[in-house]
């Protein structure tokens, strides 16, 4: 099955899942996938959504049983695994933060189900708990988290630290990280990477699942690529590149990934004159033209997010002006912005972009409902036609226009979030991290959609921390650092390194500023 298997040692395998087949309700989730992880290495697992990554991991966690194939752990074969058994074997899973109970304290979370008692009594040994927790927290993370802190008070990164610490308290043999950096800023991710390398050096085997190929490239010793429920390759990272991995994932060329078209820019559509907001950003002057895709990037706290929020009327600037089509405007709420044909596709799509328990149709017409209303009454026939039309044009894959958005994949949910604004005939699109958590196939479709919008005369601002993406789909890129525009790049003439250096405020990069 594997095209370029470079892991060959048999006795040294920590995990060996072989020719796993799994069906759900007749649909094939895994069609003979194998995963072989050598002890003491960091092993990446990549694939588009639906490639079978999560099914494979759930099988390993004992949450599902394979229909065919076998699972070997430390040379021992298991026909059937239970979650309890998996934990006994020293295999731990670090998921995104939603598995923690927000009302528990750090101490309760860390020792849940295995609380140390004061010898001979039924009472919890709180001092021992605090000591063991602090040892690991201090040693591995250099942070102090009191056991009495509530989970709900912690940042995403701290919640993850708690999860990892909980696993480390058990002296794990294998740690499985499932999309651990999705909600982390770069600096936090760097801390995580250092930790992972250290654990590997201490002999822990790491399985690392991520959409971010640059992370895989940076961190992993080997990577297994899944596609359509099979492992298409297992490669050593020294011998491959992110581009090659991406090709294997989609079986398509990377040049097709960023289908940037050249569009002659039209008239100015949005102009910012010395826009400032105290403590957030200052003296921002930008002109966006019709047909132009403008990239915006900056670290957390750079002011980029605040700028987008101001443009959409969610915050107000303290000085400076905003002009749309040459006319000064001042929006103080989203309703006004929507009426001025602005569109915001927010970062956290499940929380802010779509209503998961409403249908695809209801989501698509949410902002354009007035068009389908007469005297306050809805015209269902025209509304359905609009929904069918956009579902077709954007290739939204759903069981139908009445399907709940919850049942759609991340990429299709995002298309619904964008379709809402197409239906509103919006002209200025503010896209905040538009492809986070979206599989590569859908990413390309979203990039195409952005190109289509530009070609039709819309002005588009893309805020993204995925720099290759930003360079690939925009015409120019503005870099914000501590509230100011520190660099402007012409997209085809720059590189991710250069943009990153500018956004981290490296003096080397800033030297060029006039």
């Amino acid at each position: 099955m594997s095209a370029a298997l470079t892991v060959k040692n048999t006795a040294a395998d920590a995990l060996h899942l072989e020719n796993i087949v799994k069906h759900f309700d007749g649909a094939v989730a895994l069609a003979g996938a194998s995963l072989r992880v050598r002890r003491g290495t960091v092993h990446g697992l990549v694939g588009q959504n639906g490639a079978g990554k999560s099914t494979l991991i759930k099988l390993l966690a004992g949450l599902h049983q394979p229909d065919e194939g076998r699972i070997e752990i430390d040379g021992q074969t298991y026909g059937k695994l239970t979650p309890h058994q998996v934990e006994e074997l020293g295999i731990h899973f670090i998921h995104q933060d939603r598995l923690l109970v927000p009302t528990f304290t750090v101490g309760e979370t860390l020792f849940l189900g295995r609380e140390p008692r004061i010898a001979g009594t039924p009472f919890l040994d709180r001092r021992l708990m605090q000591r063991r927790a602090s040892e690991i927290l201090n040693d591995y993370f250099g942070v102090r988290l009191p056991n009495s802190a509530l989970i709900s008070e912690l940042s995403t990164a701290e919640k993850q630290i708690v999860q990892i610490t909980r696993a480390l308290l058990d002296q794990p043999k294998v740690l499985v990280f499932d999309e651990p950096t999705a909600a982390l800023v770069r600096r936090e991710a760097d801390i995580l990477f250092r930790l992972i390398r250290r654990l590997r050096d201490e002999g822990v085997t790491i399985v690392y699942i991520s959409h971010y190929l640059n992370e895989i490239e940076e961190l992993c010793d080997h990577v297994t690529v899944l596609r359509n429920g099979e492992d298409v390759a297992t490669l050593a990272l020294g011998e491959t590149s992110a581009a090659a991995i991406a090709r294997l994932m989609v079986a398509r060329d990377i040049e097709e990934m960023f289908p940037k078209r050249s569009i002659a820019p039209g008239k100015d559509i949005l102009t910012l004159n010395r826009l400032s907001s105290r403590g957030k950003y200052h003296d921002i002057s930008v002109t966006l033209r019709r047909g132009e895709v403008l990239g915006l990037t900056g670290l957390l706290g750079s002011g980029a997010k605040d700028l987008i929020r101001t443009l959409f009327g969610l915050e107000t600037a303290t000085s400076g002006t905003i002009e749309i089509d040459g006319k000064p405007v001042r929006s103080v709420n989203p309703a006004q912005s929507v009426d001025r044909h602005l569109a915001l596709v927010p970062e956290d799509r499940r929380a802010n972009g779509v209503a998961l328990d409403l249908s695809v149709t209801e989501n698509i017409t949410l902002s354009s409902l007035k068009r389908f209303t007469q005297l306050g009454f809805l015209d269902f026939r025209r509304e359905r036609r609009e929904a069918d039309d956009l579902i077709g044009r954007l290739e939204i894959k759903a069981a139908g226009r009445d399907a709940l958005v919850r049942t759609l994949s991340g990429g299709n949910q995002q298309k619904v979030a964008i379709a809402k604004w197409l239906s509103r005939h919006s002209e200025i699109y503010l896209l905040d991290e538009p492809t986070v958590g979206v599989d590569i196939g859908s990413k390309v479709e979203i990039y195409n959609l952005i190109g289509d919008l530009a070609a039709r005369g819309a002005g588009i601002i893309v805020l993204s921390s995925d720099l290759p993406e930003l360079i690939g789909i925009t015409d120019r890129i503005l870099v914000l650092f501590r509230g100011s525009i520190v660099r402007e790049f012409v997209s085809p003439e720059t590189s991710p390194d250069e943009v990153l250096a500018a956004s981290t405020g490296s003096s080397e990069a800033l030297r060029h500023v006039g």
């Binding site: 915001l344 802010n352 409403l358 949410l366 009454f377 290739e395 809402k420 197409l422 002209e427 289509d452």
Partner: protein
């Protein structure tokens, strides 16, 4: 500003269906059974009770069932609207009860007639709803806590003007004087007369409320935005709708309907009892929750709420006719609610995932 002509965006093949129904027609039968379950059970109940006790099917008895559920159905419709925006109004029972007191006080102590009393009491309900909305929308008090405190406040407030006494003609006021007013006969018509001698006015009111709110929630833009607010408040606000206005509207509707329910009770009993409306909240909420299962909607809907309330009414009336003791009533209601929720969440799940 000219609009982008997005009709010319790259056309794409229609992809609307990605998975067939593996169970085929059997799955469709299942879905039909599930969405029609409450109606099928209702029909079975009607047939069963008629067979056991032919008097059950009298027009008079059927109307008395509807009359018995009218208040609960009216309150339930209000609950449905607050559920739609993702909120919850625990104060409706207390609003109804204090509306009974307010109506009685207005007529007996102030000597107002029906035409002044009804608008006054409805305005009282709307005002309470507005205060609820203010607490929830402006001060960001969680809905359950805000309306729970309002329930407390109203249960106490209704006792103050009369120093804890029930209100009937000849009431002795806290200052020692005797109230001179009386219930306006026109007001009593609301609870005691029937249209064409057949349909009680309270049932007519229930039907009006049902139709109006059904149209509002299911057929208008505002109704869609109410559900959207409940579905995802942030996304709805970002789409340009004012979710604060929508939530305020929901609580005002809920408060107004609760006071309408209070008016119907007052007109039926003809006095202001300090302890009226005890089980109204639970019954109305139960009706709304049973309504989730009606037509397989799996979300709050006005039609379902009315059917849910009627269902409970039919069951209680029939059991009473068959001499089931009164103290089994709450148990029966609870069992129906558990069954309906199991139907909504347990069995309905296969359709969505």
């Amino acid at each position: 500003m000219t609009s982008i002509n997005d009709e010319t965006l790259s056309p794409a093949p229609r992809v609307t269906k990605t998975e067939g129904d593996p169970a085929g027609w059997l799955g469709n039968v299942n879905a039909t059974l599930r969405s029609g379950a409450v109606f099928i059970l209702l029909a079975a109940l009607l047939l069963g009770f008629t067979a056991a006790e032919p008097a059950f099917a009298n027009l008079g008895n059927l109307m008395s069932i509807l009359q018995a559920v009218a208040v609960v159905a009216i309150l339930g419709a209000g609950v449905t609207v607050t559920l739609a925006v993702g909120g919850f109004d625990l104060s409706i029972g207390a609003i109804a009860a204090s509306s009974v007191m307010a109506a009685s006080y207005a007529m007996i102590v102030w000597g107002l007639n029906a035409f002044a009393t009804v608008p006054l009491v409805l305005a009282f309900g709307a005002l309470i709803g507005l205060v609820n909305a203010l607490l929830i929308v402006k001060l960001r008090v969680p809905d359950l806590l805000a309306t729970l405190s309002m329930m407390f406040l109203l249960s106490g407030l209704q006792l103050i003007p009369t120093a804890g006494r029930s209100i009937s003609s000849g009431l002795i006021l806290p200052d020692g004087t005797t109230a001179t007013g009386a219930y306006d006969p026109y007001f009593l018509l609301i609870g005691r007369s029937s249209l064409f001698g057949i349909v009680p006015i309270s049932v007519v009111l229930m039907a009006l409320v049902a139709v109006t709110l059904y149209v509002l929630t299911e057929r208008t833009r505002i109704g869609r935005l109410l559900f959207a607010t409940g579905g995802n408040e942030v996304a709805t606000r970002l789409a340009g709708a004012s979710t604060t206005h929508l939530k305020t509207l929901a609580y005002v509707i809920s408060g107004t309907l609760a006071s309408l329910g209070g008016i119907v009770i007052a007109a039926r009993v003809g006095r202001g009892d300090v302890s009226s409306g005890g089980s109204l909240l639970m019954d109305a909420v139960a009706g709304a929750l049973i309504g989730f299962a009606v037509l397989g909607k799996r979300r709050p809907n006005v039609l379902g709420t009315i059917v849910g309330a009627v269902f409970v009414g039919v069951l209680l009336n029939g059991l009473t006719m068959l001499n089931a003791p009164y103290y089994t009533q709450d148990f029966v209601k609870g069992a129906v609610l558990v069954g309906a929720l199991a139907l909504t969440y347990g069995l309905g799940r296969s359709t969505s995932s």
